[in-house]
């Protein structure tokens, strides 16, 4: 009993969304052909010369691009791995807190940074991590010399990784906390009867209970190993730390839009899109295979 007028209504409903999807996602995708051109904005796509794979070959040749690719992987994988560990440990510990009031208070505090923008947090971190900032003051109390956290290539990627964990660990823990509440309470009772200590219950009941969720989160993050977080890095880096802090997205932005080498910037973006697509495919396959997860 599907009526024709109903079908028409569905088409009318989806039309505006579809239009925007084409205008702002598929049309830009078409514009990516300038990766195969020596694009000149004055001449447009039609009249700019085609250069085949020259831009790709250029990127494969230069030192910068290799460095940028390695930085991206290092920062993204560091974030994914450490964030997962910190969030799981935090969730397991929070699960042990028996007092309802303090538990709520802790949750209220740790979720907040997730909702603040990187512009704001970068502004705060730049003051906090400066040579004469609060963190170096604290280090001085222990007799340590001041460290230019954001100003030297050796420390910069770690600041990026740890500040991301600081911002996100609470929020990331929500999914594990939800999984912990769905563990069958009789499992804990049985463990108790068998004389399991608190730590043993945590390790042999709670942890296995959330293992499927950990596998799911880990597999879905495979698609993110080229996403080092543009907003965060662009607001914290400076030319001094490009050697370890420049990532694909910041490089594409700087070369493509600030220096105006549109074709090179587009090529970087296109390479990233293609590799990401493969990775996302892999991640969904892994998630489906090992965690029984499908997005729809």
């Amino acid at each position: 009993m599907h009526r024709k007028s109903d079908t028409l209504a569905y088409y009318v409903m989806i039309l505006p969304g579809l239009f925007l999807l084409v205008a702002f996602t598929f049309v830009p995708l078409f514009y990516s052909v300038i990766a195969f051109q020596k694009f000149n904005p004055a001449r447009g796509i039609q009249n700019s010369p085609w250069v085949g794979f020259d831009n790709f070959l250029f990127l494969f040749r230069i030192q910068d691009a290799r460095e940028v690719f390695a930085n991206t992987l290092f920062i993204a994988i560091g974030k994914i791995g450490l964030l997962l560990i910190v969030a799981v440990v935090f969730a397991l510990l929070l699960n042990e807190v028996r007092f309802a009031g303090p538990k709520r208070l802790i949750q209220t505090m740790v979720y907040l940074p997730h909702f603040l923008s990187w512009v704001i947090l970068a502004g705060i971190l730049r003051t906090l991590l400066a040579r004469e900032g609060l963190l170096n003051d604290a280090l001085a109390l222990f007799g340590l010399k001041p460290i230019a956290f954001l100003g030297q290539p050796a420390t910069f990627p770690w600041v990026i990784i740890f500040s991301d964990i600081w911002k996100e660990f609470g929020f990331e823990a929500i999914i594990y906390l939800a999984a912990l509440t769905s563990i069958d309470p009789t499992l804990y009772e049985v463990a108790e009867l068998d004389g399991a200590s608190r730590l043993q219950k945590m390790l042999y009941v709670s942890l296995p209970g959330i293992a499927p969720t950990i596998v799911l989160v880990a597999s879905l993050s495979i698609g993110n190993v080229l996403n080092a977080n543009f907003d965060q890095i662009v607001n914290l880096y400076s030319p001094i730390v490009y050697s370890t802090g420049d990532v694909l997205d910041t490089y594409a932005y700087r070369v493509g839009l600030i220096q105006g080498q549109y074709s090179i910037g587009t090529t970087v973006g296109l390479l990233k899109t293609v590799v990401s697509l493969i990775l996302i495919g892999v991640s969904y396959w892994v998630a489906d295979r090992f965690a029984n997860y499908r997005i729809f």
Partner: protein, 293 residues
């Protein structure tokens, strides 16, 4: 055994709780530090005397900002984009999610549209072609450049679609028998019972609009069109700053450090205001997308 374990258990309880409270407090210390800086005297800040409590308490930074037209213009643009952008996101999410929640029999082409949406979500176009497209549309320096490119939040569509699909089919059938058309079904049945899910996705998009700085930076040539985050980014991060002239006595008592801290803090206030609502809904939001039949 059981009896003797109890006091130790108590101690462990307290130890874990206190440790986590300290950890949680440390996530907030940087924010408290910023507030303290904004309320301290120029000399105390320059001398590195301020940690978590204002030294030489004053409100000069805030007095200055109240008269700073550029700040309030950017603030207004941000409020406008949150309102207009949030509403647009809401309307498009509902209108797109509802037909996609129908079966492929009721809505021929549903699966094709679904694949297009997913393709749009994972095909992350680079910033350069994105910029070129939008400038081709003539949207540079237009307010709509902050609204239209992100008007369809596909992830929210997927969340809401999954939510719609999990509602009991009987609702649908009952309304059908009463002769309701799809618009009435959406408006009178689906929307009212989906309020928590709608609140969740809408709050997410409001926060995203408030926090967004990059579109403002590359799509606005004239700094007068910057939303607040872009304005602050240019001021604090890129340090393109000239203190507004004309308020000479105030200026003497201010430094960029105290002023910037005050601006950062004011920009956080709207988030702090909606935070209780966020907290109420986002846990549901996170688990919402994952739960399926």
């Amino acid at each position: 055994m059981v009896v003797s374990r109890r006091p130790l258990d108590r101690i462990v309880d307290w130890a874990i709780t206190l440790f986590l409270i300290a950890l949680a407090a440390s996530t907030l210390l940087p924010l408290v530090h910023t507030l303290a800086l904004s309320l301290s005297s120029k000399q105390a800040v320059a001398g590195g005397l301020v940690s978590l409590w204002p030294v030489g308490f004053n409100l000069f930074s805030y007095e200055y900002i109240i008269q700073d037209e550029k700040f309030w213009r950017a603030f207004g643009i941000s409020l406008a984009r949150v309102a207009v952008g949030g509403f647009t996101n809401f309307a498009l999410t509902v209108l797109t999610a509802f037909p996609l929640s129908r079966s492929a029999q009721a809505f021929p082409g549903r699966n094709v549209f679904m694949w297009l949406m997913v393709a749009g979500m994972i095909l992350n176009v680079g910033v350069v072609p994105w910029y070129l497209t939008i400038s081709q549309y003539g949207l540079i320096d237009s307010f709509w450049a902050l609204i239209l490119p992100t008007a369809l939040p596909i992830w929210n569509v997927v969340i809401l679609m999954n939510f719609f699909r999990n509602l009991p089919k009987e609702l649908d059938e009952a309304a059908r028998i009463d002769g309701a058309n799809p618009w009435q079904l959406l408006w009178h049945i689906y929307l009212p019972i989906s309020l928590p899910a709608l609140a969740t996705v809408t709050l997410f998009s409001l926060v995203a609009h408030w926090n967004s700085f990059f579109d403002g930076l590359i799509l606005m040539n004239n700094p007068d069109n910057y939303p607040l985050q872009t304005y602050i980014q240019q001021l604090v991060i890129a340090q393109r700053t000239v203190l507004q002239s004309g308020q000479a006595q105030l200026l003497g008592r201010l430094s960029n450090n105290t002023l910037n801290a005050a601006k950062l803090f004011i920009a956080m206030i709207p988030i702090l205001i909606v935070y209780p609502f966020l907290q109420r809904y986002f846990i549901r939001g996170i688990t919402l997308g994952a739960v399926k039949e």
